[in-house]
């Protein structure tokens, strides 16, 4: 590695700055877009995975004809006898649309005296209403999005819910809560379980599903199999399954996007090839002179390739820095809509700063090789310039 040539290549970029600028700008933009998209996706994924942490290891749902139906509560007692199970907790929850709106609220029935199946709920609740025990039965806590929506419908302090047969249940607003991840709590309403039983007309011996806590990760699969054996009519969802599903979902979205971006890269590629085919007269002269004073094809080729290397490096670093700033400081305006879509309840979330080696690796491999190959041919064309032809 001839250091002098490396130096010279750097100087060469400076001398022909304007021509290199176009390539550099496009390159930087592509890197910026790519890394931003992946960063947003990654940050979102990290958030989603956060919610997973708190979920119970297993969720047992009773099925009939492929649909979920209510599950008998005493199954949870039997489940608790399985070695490895710390607790089996039947839950009552469901969806509810206030008024005629299309928005869905998730109503979760909680036994406020007991520890909730979700640690995050516990902590959040205690934070806002340490006096929770004195509130009686007719109250509810709302996530921020739910609260805003209810306000829109005029349900400020009092939320009136109507069961299927018209029975009215009135709940008093006790406060909003938020958890570590805004996805969890956003459109959720917590209220004592009794209220939901009344609302959804739940049979006292049934629940929506049963969550199972298995403290030892290694035993999850075994316990799952045992429960399945006990209750063949049930569907059991394990947390690792959910993790895998989340991964797949995000991967899928990101991957498809990537495949689409490749077409952008290809255009970039053709541009380089195209542009590179025309070497400015100045440059041709320069190379001719170099050849005439004793530079070999190899030397000139090295210089040109070093130049490309520098540009690739600068552009990648620039794209990376800009992207980081855009996503985590500016919170990725506009671009984030690609992911959150136009859902009625949009969580206003802050993207968690997220640097992933894998992300850097992918973006690097997606763009840089294309550029390297695209620049070889123009570099070679420069290198084989005949000194004599240029200087006549």
């Amino acid at each position: 590695m001839n250091l002098k040539l490396l130096n010279f290549a750097l100087g060469s970029i400076r001398r022909h700055l304007w021509q290199r600028l176009l390539v550099y700008t496009i390159f930087t933009t592509l890197v910026f877009l790519l890394i931003s998209i992946f960063s947003i996706s990654g940050a979102l994924q990290a958030e989603q995975l956060l919610t997973l942490d708190d979920l119970p290891e297993l969720t047992v749902q009773k099925m009939r004809a492929g649909r979920q139906v209510d599950i008998p509560i005493d199954r949870s007692y039997e489940i608790e006898t399985i070695p490895g199970v710390a607790q089996a907790y039947p839950r009552v929850w469901g969806y509810y649309s206030p008024g005629s709106s299309t928005a869905n609220l998730t109503l979760v029935g909680v036994d406020f005296a007991l520890a909730s199946y979700k640690h995050s709920f516990n902590d959040a609740i205690l934070l806002i209403r340490p006096d929770i025990d004195s509130l009686g039965q007719d109250f509810y806590l709302a996530g921020q999005g739910a609260h805003d929506l209810l306000k829109e419908y005029g349900y400020g302090e009092l939320f009136s819910l109507y069961s299927a047969d018209g029975e009215r249940i009135a709940l008093n607003f006790a406060g909003t809560f938020s958890t570590r991840s805004s996805f969890e709590s956003h459109d959720v309403i917590l209220t004592p379980e009794e209220n939901l039983r009344k609302l959804f007309k739940f049979n006292p011996y049934l629940a929506t599903d049963i969550t199972v806590r298995v403290p030892n990760q290694e035993e999850i699969e075994t316990v799952k199999r045992k429960i399945q054996y006990l209750y063949p009519d049930c569907r059991i969802i394990s947390r690792p399954d959910l993790e895998a599903a989340y991964h797949n979902l995000f991967d899928y979205r990101a991957g498809v996007f990537l495949a689409l971006m490749i077409s952008a890269f290809m255009s970039f590629f053709t541009l380089i090839l195209d542009k590179g085919s025309g070497i400015s007269l100045d440059e041709q002269q320069e190379i001719g002179i170099m050849k005439a004073v004793g530079w070999s094809i190899h030397n000139v080729l090295s210089i040109k390739l070093f130049e490309s290397m520098y540009i690739a490096l600068f552009a990648y670093m620039s794209g990376l820095t800009l992207s980081y700033f855009f996503v985590f400081v500016l919170d990725a305006p506009v671009l984030r809509m690609l992911f959150t879509g136009a859902s009625v309840l949009k969580p206003e979330f802050q993207l968690i700063p997220y640097i992933d080696l894998q992300l850097l690796m992918i973006t690097f491999l997606a763009i840089v090789p294309i550029y390297v190959f695209a620049s070889i041919i123009p570099a070679w064309r420069s290198a084989i310039i005949d000194a004599d032809e240029v200087m006549r």
Partner: protein
Amino acid sequence: MTFSPEVVTLFLLDTLLFIFATVVVFLAYKLSLNFDHRSTSSRQYGMERTTYLASTIIQAIMLMKLISFPLMIYTLDNLSISLSGAMCAVGTLSGSTYGWSSLLIRSLSLYFYGLWLVLHYHDIKTINYKYSVPKYKLYILIYILLTVELLMHGLFWFDLDLNAVVSCCGTIFSEASSTVSGRLLIVPTAYILISFYLAYLVTLFTAAIKHKFLSTVANILFVLIAVWMIVSFLSPYVYQLPTHQCPFCLFQREYYYMGYLLYPLLLLGSFFGIAPWVLLVAFKLELDTLKISAWFNGAFVALSIAYPLVYFAINRVWL
């Protein structure tokens, strides 16, 4: 089939490399037929210039392949999260019929890249273009490998079923398993260890007496025995678990990414031991890298001894 961005990127990269490889193979073919360094015709002049293009592209392809190999391992490892039952790259590889063969061919290709690069390095330093035509003929052979590689890669990807339940390395690499790997592990560890050190000593000996052919044979044996040794003997010490005998979990973070150091050492050591004879016989090129080979192999052996020794020092017992 998965659209995981890592997989998409790696496959598209492979495709890009293949496209360029194809462009070059046409050039290489023409060059290997018509190149005559004694001629002063303008056609010959043109070909001499073309060799610069061809070699540069080939070197770029090989560089990318070398870089993407560890990244591919990393990806395989990460993908295992999406597969139930899989805990490391072994699971991902087993999730497709073409997983293992794909990996095998990529590993084999590395040796050929090395051969070509050494040949090229000597070619540009020789005044009479002695190695140019053989170099391009070798490339045509490499191109065939690249084609198969890409095919395998594509097949692996398309065939990969993320919903399949795969066996974890614990089952595949256990003595109870009826797979080839399982049967290999039935051999008592002591025998495997002895074969390993013996093989290493033989490579040292062949390097000392500078016998190229024996060195090639010895190193090939050494590589095979070394992998065997990693699975049966070394892994348990790295994972500190007697039943965990997987050659891939070594690449994971919990084990300090040791695999990324261990395997390259073995690769380099065996390559420099195998290459001299091959280059001499096929290309009449004298290469003296037996000593380098001994060093790399030695480093590998040292590492493989270190783990058990450290374990013993801490726990006062062998696995």
